[in-house]
């Protein structure tokens, strides 16, 4: 923090030294400035929430503090000493623990074995089992959970919340001073969130600095003392919870200009009949989903991480199907129980994780393009003869249709740029004549230029009568592309908004805070 800027949040703790401070931290990834001279102070006995949209730099900042990334410039000051971490082990040894969203526990080992992994009490290499259990019990007692979790229980038989407590116990057993939690409440029930809340208060009382990343503003305002808002890699502000309202924070999180040109939205005469209709469909992740998709329109699906966006796409495409409810495709009730069903019914799914789910990176571009056609062919047909003839004609056509830049279609797909890879994924579905396209994060990790051409391609599809459901965590993309916008929260479609709604309106529905800023513009929030 530069000397001239006096932050109101700092004045509340006169005379108290920050436990951890980051100064002017900058981190650049290829093509992205992830953090731009961010400075924050974290005080002992304080819960400090870091909030921001997806891609704002929250996780990057936390990973730098925890030693998983090395910053390009800037300083980390821990208890008045500058520290440099080359590896998470070093940060851990200095008392900074981080609990990631994916658990870092051994499921087939006991609670005690997990907490004291690598530090088991032993004599001549032989474990002192009673001592191990005693040490574990005393750690669990410090958290007040010794009656709930036994040292000898296998971690895999614990609930998600209990596993999280075990991770916290592990951090405490290392005598950590700073505890970072990445979305700790994402998978918890409300009772469990309350427990975590109590636990965090205990940690505060121990004089620890608790930092947590969250999307759920409600919980942030319940638990945190301070909130730091990041946006596009820059620090917006650090505020005291009691001086701010959720609407203020939402306003700080959003409100930026669209960063590139989008193709024109569709108009009423472009939209045709309903091709996909879902009624009251539910599964383990989704509840009472109703939606309609028309020929020629793009429906954007917004929502925070964990709100069920990807699960919606997977349910529609039969990856994790709906268990109840009805799906109608072109007016006929259909069962979509597997991707094979979905493809047969003319759906295409451009997945979020291109490398893992969209492409076979080590196969030639040609084979990637023809994959869906081959999937629909009989397993016992002769691919050799038919495939060669088809590919000779079809592949170059497809290639020009989406403008894949490559010198040869026999090149392995892994050597293409992200944008070109995404185009190859698209051709898979063009080749199978899909009429309903689902895009999950169509431009994640793609450079700006390719982004624009992918956006043009998607809009071009709708002009050929294709219906598009587009999931994105980039609000600018949702607003720039969508003819209608659905907002998801907690596995439901929480609201439907018209084209060109404001970011703030979308965020309010997504965070569950219909506040004073948004409702005047026709936000249609569902009753729960």
């Amino acid at each position: 923090m530069t000397d001239g800027m006096k932050n109101p949040a700092e004045e509340t703790k006169p005379g108290l030294e920050p436990l951890l401070e980051v100064r002017q931290i900058t981190k650049r990834f290829p093509g992205v400035l992830a953090l731009d001279a961010v400075s924050v102070k974290f005080y002992p006995g304080e819960v400090h929430a870091v909030v921001g949209e997806n891609g704002a730099g929250k996780s990057t900042l936390m990973k730098i503090v925890a030693g998983a990334y090395v910053p390009d410039s800037g300083e980390i000051i821990l208890q008045n000493q500058q520290v440099n971490f080359a590896h998470p082990v070093e940060a851990f040894a200095k008392g900074i623990s981080i609990i990631y969203q994916e658990f870092n526990l051994l499921p087939d080992r006991s609670v005690a074995q997990n907490i004291f992994l690598g530090r088991e009490p032993a004599r001549f290499g032989i474990i002192d089992m009673p001592q191990l259990n005693k040490n574990t019990t005393s750690v669990l007692e410090e958290l007040g959970v010794e009656k709930l979790i036994s040292p000898t229980t296998l971690v895999s038989s614990l609930s998600v919340a209990a596993q999280q407590i075990v991770e916290i116990a592990k951090a405490i057993s290392y005598d950590s001073k700073v505890l970072i939690m990445d979305e700790p409440t994402a998978a918890l029930t409300s009772v469990e969130v309350k427990m975590l809340d109590d636990l965090v208060r205990r940690l505060k009382a121990r004089g620890m600095a608790v930092i947590f990343i969250s999307h759920r503003l409600g919980e942030v305002f319940d638990i945190a003392d301070k909130i730091t808002v990041l946006k596009d890699g820059q620090l917006v502000n650090t505020v005291n919870v009691k001086d701010a309202s959720p609407a203020d924070v939402v306003y700080m999180m959003v409100g930026r200009a669209l960063d590139h040109y989008f193709p024109p939205l569709g108009s009423a005469q472009d939209f045709g009949e309903v091709v996909l209709q879902v009624r009251e469909a539910s599964n383990d992740f989704l509840r009472d989903v109703d939606l309609e998709l028309r020929r020629g329109e793009i429906v954007g699906v917004a929502g925070l991480q964990g709100s069920g966006r990807t699960e919606l796409a997977q349910a529609l495409f039969g990856v994790v199907p709906f268990k109840t409810g009805a799906i109608e495709i072109r007016g006929q009730t259909q069962m979509v129980k597997s991707p094979y069903d979905a493809i047969r019914l003319g759906m295409g799914f451009v997945t979020e994780d291109r490398k893992a789910e969209g492409l076979c990176p080590k196969q030639p571009i040609r084979d990637n393009m023809l994959m869906t056609i081959r999937a629909l062919q009989s397993l016992f047909g002769f691919i050799l003869k038919d495939g060669v003839r088809k590919s000779r004609k079809l592949v170059p056509t497809l290639g020009t249709q989406v403008d894949v830049r490559t010198d040869s279609f026999d090149r392995e797909a892994q050597f293409l740029s992200g944008g070109n890879q995404q185009k190859v994924v698209l051709t898979k579905w063009l080749a199978s004549d899909a009429g309903i396209f689902i895009f999950d994060e169509p431009t994640r990790g793609i450079d700006v230029e390719s982004k624009a051409s992918i956006h043009d391609l998607i809009r071009g599809l709708t002009r050929q009568g294709v219906a598009v459901l587009m999931i994105s965590s980039e609000l600018s993309e949702i607003i720039g592309m969508s003819d209608r916008i659905l907002v998801m929260r907690d596995g439901r479609i929480a609201g439907a908004l018209p084209a060109q709604s404001r970011e703030a309106d979308i965020m309010l529905v997504a965070t569950g805070h219909p506040g004073r800023n948004g409702s005047d513009r026709g936000v249609e929030t569902r009753k729960e």
Binding site: P88, V89, F92, A93, N104, L105, L106, P107, D108, R109, Q113, L117, G118, R119, E120, A122, G125, I126, I127, M129, L148, I149, S150, T153, S156, S157, L158, S159, A161, A162, T189, V191, E192, M195
Partner: protein
Amino acid sequence: MTTLVLDRSGFQRFIRRIPPVYVFLILVFAGGAILDFTLSDGQMITNPAIQTNIFVRSVALGIVAVGQTFVIIGASIDLSVALVISVTAVMTSFIMQGDPAKVPLAILFVSAIGVVTGLVNGLIITKLKVNAFIATLGTTLILRGILNASFANYKGSIPRSFEYFGYGRIGPVPVSVLVLLTVVLAGWFILARTRFGFQLYGTGGNIEVARLSGLRTDRVLIIAHIVSSLTAVLTGLFLVSRLRAGAPWVGPDGVYDLESIATTVIGGTALAGGKGGVWGTIGGVLMFSVIDTLFNQLGVNPFMKNILRGVIIILAVASYTVRSKREAA
């Protein structure tokens, strides 16, 4: 708070700790005994000598399978054990040449071979980052090449005194069975009660978690491979003691590489690592021995027993995946 901890009673937990392979073992033994009674003379139950023989049959595979269990818990694998067994058998009888005075020298020499092989396997896997399957396949081929180039047939012999390992008895109990029991108990103790054991489970369970907890995972894996090679050496010593001379084919002919992996997996040790133990493995080994004995009793073509082994491997492992799916749901 029932939502928080899915706790089980002590009895249930004890039952769950018994590897399910023992259910299969009992079923196979019971089914075998019935077949034996109806089709043959029923000696599988009535004749203690035949029962003892079930255990003696388990010694060779049992010892090396304990070592294999170690590497598999560490999420690695060791294909080189069969050739280490051959090298041990050949070198032992070659060095001993029937001279009792050379027994210690021979044992020392083959142990050194075991340590070096395990060390090389471990170093290739951890430092050169070669997949364990490929790395140990490579060392297997190297050992086979050296062995086949140097020895074509039975070489040398062991002195009478060394036959004690293979044929001796203490009271009614064969010495070799006691050795196997000692190896199993030692294996259990190391895995369940020592730091190395705990760290091996950590390394195999999730190598990133292990590193973040400060474990030197490379070292842990290298030691596990040395343990594996040393158990192969011990199996080789047992075999040469039974056969009285070593030949290059004793390891590969016994299929100790694949069978040690199969029995480990049947015993409930996850191929992905981090889970399992030697008691399950030894249950798998005993089951193989029961099948062998049964086919002997019935006088059926011994190659047929592979069909039953194959079926059992698939059934056992399938039952685990179905079980764990049910638990996850």
